[in-house]
């Protein structure tokens, strides 16, 4: 990668593995000093200014150095997966985006894709392109929130407002399309919930033109800043083997030098029909995770642009599959067609039936491999739903990455893993 060549750093990553066997989820204090006055045990969270929601870290400190850490999760356990079993398929879609509230579109997408795979439903190309476009906009949104909060945690307070300016633009686009800013529920089984509004393309074009300039601004504030480099380089190390052993995915994995991106290596939607770069960096530190996310935003802008090129030529094409057993009939038919009225009534009250079977669908969410495992018993409700949350996997790397770090680094490192607690606890 060009980026790695630019930085021109020697590879600071440790050799061998840092993970004892069996893989621990916490870093234990050396028994020789445990319980002595040298060790100060501090609770970081669940209410703390920088724990990304309600993560609780029980940290053992020797002066300013972290010698022991245990992440306690479960404070925002909401039982999404169980709740989804109680709802008909099309109502359960509403729950998915709320699991990871920053990558809402990706969660919605993966659940809808799972249902469609069970149904064997063909989705019109216009809907697929739009899904891709929104998923990439959502990736930008998620990375922007990450960048703003991560910089805030290192004391660069202004970045937060700059990234939220662009985040606002993404949310405005969401609102324009779906009427909702987050948790849009715009992806419907079989396609999209509504046709794409006429004003969307020019607005989205404006955003696509603006975004690269904004990213260049972020670079000016952070990457060219010596303190930012000092605070992120060579910290939170995770080498290739350990990253794979800990089940890391997404930017964390790619920053550890593993070239793996589901969009390219196991294409879903139309990712095999667009050109985009997958940034991979070798050092496995906080800085590389930051670089990977920045480069991913650039790549996402390119994908959005290519989706727009296709979509602008597809005006008038269908946006949802023509399958009356699954898809709601057009509103105007309800007054004239008995058939449509019955279909509408059946879908809205009982819900559609999904053939018996089980599927696992995975997409590349902004945080990595977001999987959805769904079992259907042939009824109108899912029998079992299980999400594979990349945030949860990322959190498992905490103990390995923070070894020997200072408190200030701890905040930066846990931030760089980009965990969303809603997704961890579900």
């Amino acid at each position: 990668m060009a980026v790695a060549a630019q930085s021109g750093r020697a590879d600071p990553i440790y050799a061998g593995t840092r993970i004892p066997s069996p893989i621990p989820t916490q870093l234990d204090v050396d028994p020789a000093v445990r319980g002595t006055d040298d060790i100060l045990t501090v609770n970081f969270g669940p209410n703390h200014p920088s724990t990304h929601g309600v993560l609780r870290l029980v940290v053992d400190l020797d002066g300013e150095i972290v010698v022991g850490i245990a992440a306690k999760v479960g404070y925002v356990h909401t039982g999404f997966e169980k709740n989804m079993e109680q709802k008909s398929w099309w109502k359960a879609i509403t729950y998915a985006p709320r699991i990871d509230y920053l990558a809402y579109q990706a969660n919605e997408l993966v659940f809808v894709l799972a249902i469609e795979k069970l149904l064997g439903l063909e989705v019109p190309p216009k809907a697929t392109w739009m899904r891709m476009l929104l998923a990439e906009l959502n990736r930008i949104h998620s990375h922007l929130v990450w960048l703003g909060t991560a910089a805030l945690e290192l004391g660069a307070i202004s970045m937060f407002w700059y990234t939220f300016r662009e985040r606002e633009m993404v949310l405005d686009l969401s609102e324009l399309v779906a009427g909702y800013r987050m948790h849009t529920r715009y992806f419907q089984t079989g396609g999209l919930a509504e046709d794409i509004p006429a004003g969307f393309y020019p607005e989205c074009r404006k955003f696509v033109e603006w975004m690269p300039k904004a990213i260049a601004d972020y670079d000016g504030l952070l990457q060219k800043n010596e303190i930012w480099g000092e605070r992120t380089r060579g910290l939170g190390l995770l080498n290739r083997a350990d990253a794979i052993a800990l089940g890391q995915t997404g930017p964390v994995l790619r920053a550890s030098g593993v070239d793996w991106d589901l969009r390219r290596d196991d294409p879903y939607l139309f990712y095999d029909r667009v050109r985009f770069r997958v940034p991979v960096l070798p050092h496995g530190d906080t800085y590389d995770r930051y670089r990977v996310r920045i480069e991913e935003m650039r790549a996402s802008v390119e994908i959005v642009e290519q989706c727009l090129d296709r979509l602008e030529r597809m005006v008038g094409e269908p946006w949802i599959a023509d399958d009356r057993k699954v898809v709601l009939p057009p509103r105007e038919e309800l007054h004239t067609s008995m058939e449509s009225l019955i279909h509408h009534f059946k879908i809205v009250t009982e819900g559609y039936r999904v053939p018996e079977g089980e599927v696992y669908v995975a997409v590349e969410s902004p945080r990595g491999e977001l999987g959805c495992y769904v079992v259907s018993d042939g009824g109108t409700r899912p029998w079992r739903v299980k999400f594979r949350a990349p945030s949860f996997a990322a959190l498992e790397a905490t103990a390995t990455t923070v070894q020997g770090a200072y408190i200030a680094d701890l905040i930066a490192i846990v931030g760089s893993l980009d965990t969303v607690m809603g997704e961890v606890d579900r």
């Binding site: 920088s50 300013e64 660069a156 307070i157 303190i227 000092e230 605070r231 408190i407 905040i411």
Partner: protein, 333 residues
């Protein structure tokens, strides 16, 4: 020139209130400027353009319960903010802000207390003020406060060394420890910022660290230590700590102006020396703006980086600067 004691008392009262007013409006200035740099508006509800915001804040703080943790150690916990606020306010007494005026039959000096060793007095008061921060954090009996205290202790002690050494060049050049004398020396020569550029830079950097401002705001790094040493303080006790910090920042800017930027003098305008306080204030605003700008731009340093920067870079530079200045002065004589 001497002045009657009651003139000094009146002047002290006026100055202390002016400093407090400056403190109050520095908080507003900071919030407004930060907001503008961050695409926000800042306080704009209380009064026109939010001008009454500091007063509203004060009323709120005074009326708020000063929470007292059961585990806290009584006397130090209560005294700590008082000590900090007192020393911060007292230090400004020796900063000269004007040439002095003849009003009716009396002469009024442009400084509250003209002491021959005023520079040492400022550093001494600053050092006592640090006790407030350390003791306050320790007496709160909270882990976050303790960590904040430890940081404050280490940071302030190490940066005070560089701070004191950086002004040594000015003291040697001026041949005096009296701030009034130092300002007088700059009246008809270059301001000391030119010959002592290195000293000025070291002074500013360690000054930022000394007042715990970004990027050296480790003692109260919100994202790590919640609020550092004043985590367990609330109400006006917290307000006193806050006041101490801002007044320290103002005093430090005042000291920088006095030592390096010609005090109340203004270039090419020697005839209007009676306007001294005005020039002083303009320079003060410029420095405060720089402080705030830094905060909006820079990320925070880490504890060990801060320490190594202080001891391995600033201290040697300040020492060499003082030595070279001494050699040049001796050689020139």
């Amino acid at each position: 020139m001497s002045e009657p004691w009651w003139v000094s008392v009146i002047k002290a009262l006026v100055i202390i209130n002016l400093v407090l007013l400056t403190f109050a409006y520095t908080t507003l200035l900071e919030r407004k400027l930060l907001a503008r740099m961050q695409l926000r508006f800042g306080p704009n509800r209380a009064g026109p353009y939010g001008l009454l915001q500091p007063i509203a804040d004060l009323v709120k703080l005074v009326r708020k319960e000063s929470f007292f943790p059961t585990a806290a150690i009584d006397a130090p916990y209560i005294l700590a903010p008082v000590v900090s606020a007192f020393t911060a306010l007292a230090a400004f007494a020796v900063i000269p802000f004007g040439n002095g005026w003849n009003i009716w039959r009396y002469h009024v000096n442009g400084v509250v207390a003209n002491v021959p060793i005023s520079l040492i007095l400022i550093f001494a008061l600053g050092s006592i003020g640090i006790y407030g921060f350390i003791v306050g954090g320790w007496a709160s009996e909270s882990k976050y406060s303790l960590l904040g205290s430890m940081r404050t202790c280490a940071q302030l002690v190490s940066y005070e060394v560089s701070l004191a050494l950086s002004v040594l060049g000015v003291v040697i050049t001026a041949g005096s420890l009296s701030l009034v004398q130092i300002v007088h020396n700059q009246a008809h020569s270059l301001w000391y910022v030119v010959p002592q550029a290195v000293g000025f830079l070291v002074f500013l950097i360690s000054g930022v660290a000394e007042t715990s401002r970004a990027p050296f705001d480790l003692p109260e790094a919100e994202q790590e230590l919640v609020a550092g040493y004043h985590t367990e303080y609330s109400g006006m006790r917290w307000g006193l700590f806050q006041m101490a910090e801002y007044v320290n920042m103002i005093t430090l800017s005042g000291l920088a102006i006095t030592l390096f930027l010609g005090g109340w003098h203004f270039p090419f305008a020697h005839g209007v020396d009676f306007l001294g306080p005005l020039w002083f204030f303009v320079k003060l605003l410029a420095l405060l703006f720089a402080f705030i700008w830094l905060r909006a731009t820079l990320p925070r340093l880490r504890y060990d980086q801060l320490m190594s920067f202080g001891w391995k870079i600033l201290l040697p530079v300040a020492t060499v600067n003082a030595l070279v200045t001494a050699l040049v002065v001796v050689w020139a004589n």
